[in-house]
Symmetry: C2
Subunit: 528 residues, 2 copies
């Protein structure tokens, strides 16, 4: 057996492994058909830091904390200034007893039962975000599956299916079935003969028949076989009444509704693909784990007012928010991770290219709501365990909790993840009005909504005082014009954060950006 299937491949890899170590092995595996999943290949090796070399880090979000952690480990003198009274930035979790204050002073007090929470910022971790997973492993952050694709979630379009929510499994099956029938029809009418070989045409027809669950006439019709994908009118059972009965397929026009293919395409996205994870107990477990390592370096409640630099170093002025007292920190280098929406308003001695880049990038203003209900009716009544339901109403989606499935007692679902116009509309409301809107829009999926509702909280990111937005939104044009200027070291200052990455809005982008920034600073110190 040793010599049967793939000996040369395996022997080759064995030799490479012995000779070149893990990196060479990984490269070889990639060449043999294993795709690259990440740019991360371990934390940076910053050896040979000069004694006394110092760095001031602005912002104790993930980008700032990973920079501080690796710099200090390498021997740098590190100080971190953070505006808030907690670490993590957008790595943030709201629980019962917490308060949330909007930029206009509106205060919400979260009333969730103990153990319940909502993650207003990042809330899911792709399986290929290796840098984030590396630190979760290293710091012992417990992760559990985040159910992303749930075939039993709902899709609602006001323009299709008479406005009635449909299960994802049903419309996805119908979409595949109808399009397969059309393509098979075209193939059989020789419409593809110029595009595909005779052999591929045969293979295509066979594929479509199975993939689209077409009948003997290559038509997509209601049947038990189709229902075994889209769901039954009466599902299979046991004993005398065990036989299932088929459900009725939807019309082509309905399944071509944008809500259908938007939902399907959403799940196809690399960053949205299964398997995904979340920290047990709330996303801020990650920020807290970092803070356990670097908390002693952080000065909280420090509002940066000015970043001055000369050829030798940086001086950062800041105000201690509670007392109003001004203070300053000087260091050889500055890693600034403050969101562009904030730092672009601070006096900063940087060159015109970086200054222009900092002002060029708009921020999206998503809004999230957490709604607490008396019980998990979505599980108990509707067989929905985690995942999402989508709607073209302003709330855009519901997302069901992925922790403590099957448990009794109050539970929190994400009652809105509004973007663009929907976010704008909801943000303009009072917290109580937002809840009313979320209930009115959400009960289209769940008639149990009003009866089971307990309380809720809304987080409109464009009104979050310390960021005034949710995530950077790079256009292709802006990337071309400004990205490299934004990330380039400007004298003694370098920017980092999700905005300084190609993973905008993802924790992985913050971390990779932070590591890249300090690696380049370290190289400068070595070259100097």
């Amino acid at each position: 057996m040793e010599n049967s299937m793939q000996p040369s491949r395996r022997q080759l890899l064995g030799l490479i492994g012995k000779a070149g170590g893990a990196a060479a092995m990984y490269q070889a595996m990639t060449a043999l058909g294993h795709a690259a999943e990440t740019q991360f290949d371990g934390p940076p090796v910053l050896s040979g830091a000069k004694p006394g070399a110092s760095v001031v880090v602005l912002g104790a979000g993930l980008a700032g904390m990973v920079a501080a952690y690796e710099l200090e480990k390498a021997g740098y003198q590190v100080k971190v200034l953070e505006f808030q009274d907690r670490p993590g930035g957008r790595n943030y979790t709201l629980r019962g007893g917490d308060t949330f204050t909007e930029s206009d002073g509106t205060v919400q007090k979260v009333q969730f039962a103990p153990g319940n929470y909502i993650n207003p910022g990042p809330w899911r971790i792709p399986h290929h975000h290796n840098c984030l997973l590396h630190y979760c492993r290293q710091f012992g952050v417990a992760l559990e599956p985040f159910i992303q694709l749930n075939h039993n979630g709902f899709i609602h379009s006001s323009e299709a299916f008479d406005g009635k929510p449909q299960r994802y499994k049903a419309v996805a099956t119908d979409f595949r079935g109808h399009t397969s029938e059309l393509l098979a029809k075209a193939a059989n009418a020789k419409a593809l003969d110029g595009s595909v070989s005779a052999e591929d045409k045969e293979k295509l027809l066979e594929a479509l028949r199975h993939w689209g669950v077409l009948d003997d006439n290559m038509a997509y019709t209601s049947s038990v076989a189709v229902s075994a994908q889209r769901g039954y009118d009466r599902p299979p059972g046991g004993g005398v009444g065990g036989a299932p009965s088929p459900s009725q397929i939807a019309k082509l026009g309905d399944v071509l509704d944008p809500q259908v293919w938007t939902a399907m395409s959403f799940y196809f996205n690399y960053v949205m693909q299964t398997t995904m994870f979340q920290p047990v107990g709330g996303m801020d477990m990650i920020g807290k784990a970092f803070a356990k390592q670097v908390g002693k370096l952080i000065t909280y409640n420090a509002k940066v007012t000015k970043v001055a630099q000369n050829g030798k170093g940086v001086t950062v002025s800041y105000r201690d928010v509670p007392s109003g007292r001004m203070n300053s920190v000087s260091a050889d280098w500055c890693v600034c991770t403050i969101p562009l929406s904030i730092i672009s308003q601070v006096e900063m001695q940087v060159g015109p290219k970086l200054a222009a880049a900092m002002k060029a990038v708009p921020y999206a203003g998503q809004l999230k709501m957490g709604l607490e209900f008396k019980r998990r009716f979505w599980e108990e009544d509707d067989n929905i365990y985690g995942g999402h339901s989508f709607t073209d109403q302003p709330i855009a989606q519901l997302s069901y909790p992925n922790d403590r499935f099957f448990s009794s007692g109050p539970a929190v679902l994400l009652g809105a993840f509004a973007r663009d116009a929907g976010a704008f509309e909801l943000t303009g409301m009072t917290p109580q009005e937002r809840i009313e809107a979320a209930l009115a829009q959400g009960e289209i999926f769940h008639p149990q909504y009003r009866k089971e509702f307990l309380n809720g909280v809304s987080v409109p990111w464009s009104r979050v005082p310390w960021i005034l937005g949710c995530t950077s939104r790079w256009s292709e044009e802006n990337r071309e014009a400004h990205y490299q200027n934004l990330v380039a070291i400007d004298g003694r200052v370098v920017l980092a954060g999700e905005h300084a990455s190609y993973y905008g809005g993802w924790m992985e982008g913050s971390l990779l950006s932070g590591l890249d920034a300090i690696t380049r600073i370290h190289q400068r110190t070595q070259a100097a």
Copy 2:
């Protein structure tokens, strides 16, 4: 807001809920667009059992135990005879220290580290198997997500992609892309004009463009946008080198390989759709939970040798296996859940229709293997957390463990789930040869296989002495000719089990069948 979106619907449901209770509410929700998910609507209400009425149940698998549980609760005198020395039947888990003996006497001793296990029988629970979920809730069986669809699992076909494994995400994206391009081409060439309206054609083209990630010319080509679904050559990152680079799409001929659409269709199946679950610690937690309720009713090591009946009752003869002593139990009724592959060989006084039905149904002979490795290289090196990789080799698939993600130390994956010819080939080997075959075939996905391998166990179901097969396999013709005869009460005897259901091979089928059987027996006792 109260009166805005769906007042009539909600008010209607409220009224129905008040007037008719949960069942009426459920019916009304179904009518409003919520599909039926299950035939289960709660455990049967068997009120008014006659004092002293008795039932003997044959087999302490799930069908037998649920029958015993509900019958005893209703006031029946219940006895259960079980051939094995443990409850659960195919609800079965192998752990370190367990031994497994094949029908030819071959013994394997499982060497897994503490906490590791393999479920040779059922191993995943669909979110809509409400009967099983009901008893898991009631008996406190802790469940955790079973990662079913993993976009990062591999697909391997010896006939395509030069025999190199591909990631699911890549080939699924390419399949959608290529077929979308072809359909768009046909639509633009007016080949569909007889089949779709002008409006639907416009919607179709828009859908295909997004769904198939087609370029401005409606062609499927390598690009960063396509790579954002199929995976990148160089994934996005942070800082100066953050820009991703696209991967190369596969050829149409390759993605039309049956392995591709077979894998995709697999995940579309209603019983295979997300969300799925597994018991924490092994599938036999369910059997053990039932046994905690009805264990006192079970006589273990009892090999049934004869089932005799007259107009008044049933007498079951059995041998106590360890002592060889014969014994018998008499009762008013008998619920027989012994697999057809076994009971069809036992002398049984039943009518010709049932006798014929019992002999008509063949059993499939799947084979599963559990392989223990030193570490979770599929997680650490390959970013695979749960889910499956498929191959056209005899092992058919690998499935990665869904418990204790990210943990260090030895872990067990399912190294083979062979069916049909593949199962036949592997079953014919010695346990050591099977392991060699599984390693040789599995390392096509994971070059780390040999280096990390510790030990393994194989369970060829056709050689499992107490069943000699894995699951009943009904053909449509057999269903037509024999199913109703198989489940009909024959004098004082009724059959139950997955074979007496339309959910063959699923625990849900066993349970629903068991409940249906006792409900009908109860009705007979009430009518008598």
